[in-house]
Amino acid sequence: MIEVRKLVKRFGLKTILRGLDFQVGQGEFVALLGPNGAGKTTFLRILASLSRPSLGEIHVAGFSLPHQAAQVRQKLGVVSHMPLLYGDLTAEENLRFFGNMYNTANLNPRIGEVLDLVGLISRRKDLVRTFSRGMQQRLAIGRAVLHDPEVMLFDEPHTGLDQDACDMLDKVLRDVAARGRTVVMTSHDLARVEELATRFDVLSKGIISASINKSELRTDNILTFYKKALAGGNA
């Protein structure tokens, strides 16, 4: 579903990604781990066609980037720590706007379905600026799944949420994964991603330095694996 070969990203003289290789199969839930500044957000922004790669090949859902960016964007749903929503529009108006931008079929019933999925159906007529951070993040997920994308990218979606909001977000994430969507999520919360993801990749020094499936996490827990990966002991 996602195939990346020899990806390089430079900002001026600074090289962020140094020949990164990355593959994700359909229905996989990959947690992308790594220290601050490792390039996780940059990598997700390239996959989302928000940033151009300096070098390398990228294929998402059968389309190549950056040449077929519009086709890739049709297959993608993106959630970041920013909600990407308009505070002066209601929840329903936000979804209607993005539904029109994605040319979503049967928009009215679909908006109802999505609001139901994220537990905001009773607040559909309320302005988004009156929502708590957790509610905004749930609506952000609703915005991202509205056009039924095949691939979902989550960039630290738990940032700034309290425990209850995180648990509710996890429930929505599990539901998204259970519907067979391919998910790539960056996070610093190892315990949380250990429960959600089916594979764990560590991005360090501009490459994927280690990767492990959940089924292989027998002797090591996620924290030990992560520390070893950063130390260069599990490449």
């Binding site: 002066d88 029109n100 931008m101 302005l127």
Partner: protein
């Protein structure tokens, strides 16, 4: 045949996206009234300051009017352009727009339409007020045509440059610095044509300036259409 439907479907999506963005901006502004109120207060203050600062007799009032009007529209317009793009950037909404599977120039045209509507609203309020304060009749079809053409040119390039400026840390300062030098031909042509109409000249005598406005409108829109994608991409 599917091959023939594709361009039509694409242009249908393009138009749908343009109007979705314009509708979104207008709906949000209808609720918050942040942008219009800031532009309007600023425009009224400029007019009042000129009214008190310049002691104009009846004849010089006519000749000064076009200059005062365009200074007012230009400065108030800059406030609106800055705010219109800042709203997108501050909550990450620009990324939300860029993630949509539409031609990115539709974002430009959507923003341009909404900015133009805000500008026209300000002009519709400022013109009668100016007429009353300065005792000058501004309800001249020629003048209204010039205001229309000048506003289109100003907003066309202003929307593009606001999208550039909003990516910088000093966006509030950056927009006027980028915009004013580029927009000088539009402002000069608009001031000359407006002044001509106010002094009783006929359209045929002012065709040079009107044509210049038309040409700049077309050039600015065409440039923005071609480069907007590169301006908003990292």
């Amino acid at each position: 045949m599917p091959e023939k439907k594709l361009p039509a479907a694409r242009s249908g999506n393009f138009i749908k996206a343009v109007f979705a963005i314009a509708w979104k901006d207008l709906s949000a502004e209808l609720r918050s009234r942040e942008l219009i109120s800031a532009m309007l207060v600023f425009a009224l203050l400029v007019i009042l300051i000129f009214n008190f600062a310049l002691k104009l007799d009846a004849k010089t009032r006519i000749t000064a009017t076009s200059g005062i009007l365009w200074v007012t529209f230009t400065f108030a317009g800059t406030l609106g352009l800055n705010r219109s793009m800042a709203v997108e950037k501050d909550r990450g909404c620009l990324d939300g727009l860029l993630l949509a599977p539409v031609d990115r120039s539709s974002i430009y045209f959507g923003k341009m339409i909404s900015n133009l509507v805000f500008m026209f609203i300000i002009e519709a309020i400022v013109l009668p007020l100016y007429s009353v304060l300065y005792n000058v009749n501004l309800f001249n079809p020629g003048l209204l045509l010039v205001i229309l053409l000048g506003s289109v040119g100003y907003i066309a390039i202003g929307t593009l440059l606001a999208a550039m400026a909003v990516q910088t840390r000093t966006r509030d300062v950056m927009l006027p610095i980028l915009l004013f030098p580029v927009v000088i031909p539009v402002v000069v042509a608009a001031v000359e044509a407006s002044g001509g109409f106010l002094q009783g000249m006929v359209a045929s005598e002012l065709m040079y300036w009107i044509n210049l406005l038309l040409v700049y409108d077309v050039i600015f829109i065409a440039i923005a259409f071609m480069v907007f994608d590169y301006v908003v991409e990292e």
